[in-house]
C-alpha cells in the first residue's frame, strides 16, 4: 500500500511539474494574449479593449498556472484555438480511437516479439536467430511514418503499423534477456537432467526474465503513443495523434500541452503499474 502511495505521489508531482512546464510554454509563447478577432473591422475600440482585457486577466505566470490548475480540477482543459471546441470534448471523442490503435499495436508487437524471441532462443539455430534478428533490425531502421506510408500504399490496416514499431524493441530486449536466462546454471542443469524444452521455458527461463520484461511494458506504451502521431496522420485515423499534429500545424499550444499531459499521465500510470507488478513478482520469487 505504501509503495502504491509512493508511486501515486510521484505521478502527481511529475504531472504538476509537467503542467507547470506546459503552462509556461503556453504563457510565454509568441502571440499569447492576442486574438484574430481583434482584426475584425466591425469591432470598435471598446470591444477590442474588452477582448484584450479578457486575455490579460491571467496576469503573471504564477497566476496563469493557478487558473490553469483550478480549471483543470474542474475538468476544463480550455478551448482549442484551431478547432474552436472544448479540449475535453475533443479528447473524449478521439482518445478511445487511439486507445484502440495502441492496444492493438501493443498486443501485436508483444505477441510477435515475444514469440519470435522464444523461438530464436529455444531453437538454438543460428539460421533462425539470424533471420529474426535481421527482420527486427530492418524494422528498427524504418521510421514509423514510412511504415505508415507503405501500409497506405499497400491498402493494409494502419493500426498494424504500431505493432511493427513496437515489435523490434520487444524482440531485441526479450531475446537478450531470455538468452541470458537460458544460460544460467540451474537452466543448464535442468536441460542436462532431460527436462523438455517447454517445461524449461515455462518453469526456469520465463520466471527469471518476467520482472525485467514487465519493466519494458511501460516503455512500450510510451513508444506506441509516440508512434501514433505519424500513423494516425498518414493512415487518417481520427485519434489524439492526428489531433496533436493538427494542433502543431495550427500552433494550438493549449490543445498540444493538454494532449501531452494526458499521454504523459497514461505513460506514467503504465510505467508504475509494470514496476509494481514486477516488484511483487520479484518478491514472490525471493
Amino acid at each position: 500500500m505504501r509503495r502504491f502511495a509512493r508511486h501515486a505521489a510521484r505521478i502527481l508531482i511529475i504531472l504538476l511539474l509537467g503542467g507547470f512546464l506546459g503552462a509556461t510554454l503556453v504563457r510565454l509563447a509568441p502571440g499569447f494574449g492576442t486574438d484574430e478577432e481583434e482584426l475584425d473591422s466591425r469591432l470598435n475600440q471598446q470591444s477590442i479593449q474588452a477582448l484584450r482585457q479578457s486575455h490579460t486577466n491571467d496576469g503573471s505566470l504564477g497566476q496563469f498556472y493557478l487558473h490553469y490548475l483550478t480549471r483543470l480540477l474542474h475538468g476544463d482543459l480550455g478551448t482549442s484555438k484551431t478547432l474552436q471546441q472544448p479540449v475535453t470534448r475533443l479528447l473524449a471523442e478521439r482518445f478511445p480511437e487511439t486507445l484502440k490503435s495502441v492496444g492493438m499495436g501493443l498486443a501485436l508487437g508483444w505477441s510477435l516479439g515475444l514469440a519470435l524471441a522464444i523461438v530464436a532462443v529455444m531453437s538454438r539455430s543460428w539460421f533462425i536467430d539470424l533471420f529474426t534478428s535481421l527482420a527486427a533490425g530492418a524494422l528498427l531502421c524504418v521510421p514509423a511514418a514510412v511504415l505508415a506510408l507503405l501500409f497506405v500504399i499497400a491498402q493494409a490496416p494502419g493500426r498494424l503499423v504500431l505493432g511493427l514499431v513496437v515489435f523490434p524493441k520487444i524482440f531485441r530486449y526479450a531475446r537478450n534477456l531470455l538468452a541470458r536466462s537460458a544460460s544460467l546454471p540451474h537452466v543448464l542443469t535442468a536441460r542436462a537432467k532431460g527436462l523438455g524444452g517447454f517445461r524449461v521455458l515455462l518453469w526456469h527461463i520465463l520466471p527469471v526474465a518476467a520482472p525485467q520484461l514487465l519493466a519494458l511494458a511501460g516503455v512500450s506504451v510510451s513508444l506506441a503513443f509516440a508512434a501514433s502521431i505519424p500513423v494516425e496522420v498518414l493512415c487518417d485515423l481520427p485519434g489524439i495523434g492526428q489531433l496533436a499534429w493538427k494542433a502543431a500545424m495550427g500552433r494550438d499550444l493549449q490543445l498540444l500541452v493538454s494532449l501531452t499531459m494526458v499521454v504523459t499521465a497514461v505513460t506514467l500510470v503504465a510505467n508504475s503499474a509494470s514496476d509494481l507488478v514486477g516488484r511483487s513478482l520479484r518478491e514472490g520469487a525471493a
Binding site: 530492418a138 531502421c141 511514418a145 502543431a248 506514467l268
Partner: protein
C-alpha cells in the same frame, strides 16, 4: 561480425564523402527545375528520374543525405555535451543537485518524445527560411535529447567518483575543477562516445518522421524526411519503383550506424 562492422564503416565513409562532394558529384542543383521533363523515368541525364516539379532526384538525394548526415551528428554532439555537462556535474557533486537533476530527467523521460518535440516545434515559427528550419529542427533534437544520456553519465560519474583513483587524487590534494577535468572527464569519454553514436540514428529517424509530417526541414531544401515524403505520391499503378531508392539508402545507412555502434556500446 568484425567484417560486417568494417563494411558498415566503409559504406558510411563512402556515402558521407559522396554527400560532402555533392556540389561536384550532383548533376544539378537541388532546386533546379527541368520543366520540360517533370516526373521523368531514370535516364542518363537523370539517374533517378525527376520529381513532380522536374527536379533531379539523384541530386536531391545527395543534398538531402548531406543535410541529415551532417546535422544528425551535430545534434548528437550537442545532446551529448549537454548530457555530459548536466549528468557529469550532477554525478560529481552528488547530494541535492544529483537528486534534482535525476528528477528533471525523470520528468523529461516521462514525456513522450514525439509529443514533446512537436509541442516545442509548434512554439517556434513554422513558416521560416529552409536554412532556419534545418537549424531549428536539429537544434531541437539536440536540446531535447539529452535526458537519457545524462542519466547514464550521472550514474557512471557517481561510480567513478567513489573509485580508488579518485580517492587517491583527492588525497593528493586535487579538488574541484582539476579533479573534474583531469580525472573524471577522461574516464567518461568512452560512455560519452557511445551515447553520441547511439543518438545519431535516433535523430536521423526522428528527423525523417518530422519531415514526413511537414514539421521538419522546409522546401526546397531536401532532407531524408522530405525525400521520403515523396512516397505519398507513389501509386502501384504508375509503377515508379525508383522512388524507393531514398528509402533503401536510408535503411542501409541507419543499419550501418547500428552495426558500427555495437562496438562503441561494448567498449563503453
Amino acid at each position: 561480425m568484425k567484417w560486417a562492422r568494417v563494411a558498415a564503416i566503409v559504406f558510411l565513409v563512402v556515402v558521407s564523402a559522396a554527400c560532402l562532394l555533392a556540389d561536384f558529384v550532383a548533376p544539378a542543383p537541388y532546386s533546379h527545375q527541368f520543366r520540360d521533363v517533370p516526373d521523368a523515368a531514370p535516364s542518363r541525364q537523370h539517374l533517378l528520374g525527376t520529381d513532380d516539379l522536374g527536379r533531379d532526384r539523384f541530386s536531391r538525394l545527395l543534398y538531402g543525405t548531406r543535410v541529415s548526415l551532417l546535422l544528425a551528428p551535430a545534434a548528437a554532439l550537442l545532446s551529448s555535451l549537454l548530457a555530459a555537462l548536466i549528468g557529469g556535474t550532477a554525478g560529481f557533486v552528488g547530494g541535492w543537485l544529483q537528486r534534482s537533476v535525476m528528477a528533471a530527467t525523470d520528468l523529461f523521460l516521462s514525456l513522450p518524445w514525439l509529443f514533446l518535440l512537436i509541442t516545442v516545434r509548434a512554439l517556434l515559427p513554422l513558416n521560416v527560411a529552409p536554412i532556419t528550419s534545418v537549424l531549428i529542427t536539429f537544434a531541437l533534437l539536440g536540446c531535447l535529447g539529452w535526458a537519457a544520456a545524462a542519466r547514464v553519465i550521472c550514474a557512471d560519474a557517481r561510480t567513478l567518483g567513489s573509485s580508488d583513483f579518485m580517492l587517491l587524487a583527492r588525497a593528493s590534494g586535487s579538488s574541484g575543477f582539476r579533479l573534474l577535468w583531469r580525472h573524471l572527464l577522461p574516464n567518461l569519454k568512452p560512455i560519452l562516445f557511445a551515447q553520441f553514436w547511439i543518438s545519431i540514428p535516433v535523430f536521423i529517424l526522428t528527423e525523417a518522421n518530422l519531415g514526413i509530417l511537414g514539421l521538419g526541414v522546409a522546401e526546397p531544401l531536401p532532407s531524408w524526411g522530405s525525400l521520403l515524403r515523396e512516397l505519398e505520391s507513389f501509386s502501384a499503378f504508375s509503377g515508379h519503383p525508383w522512388q524507393f531508392v531514398p528509402l533503401i539508402l536510408f535503411i542501409v545507412v541507419v543499419s550501418c550506424f547500428h552495426l558500427a555502434l555495437q562496438k562503441q556500446e561494448l567498449s563503453a
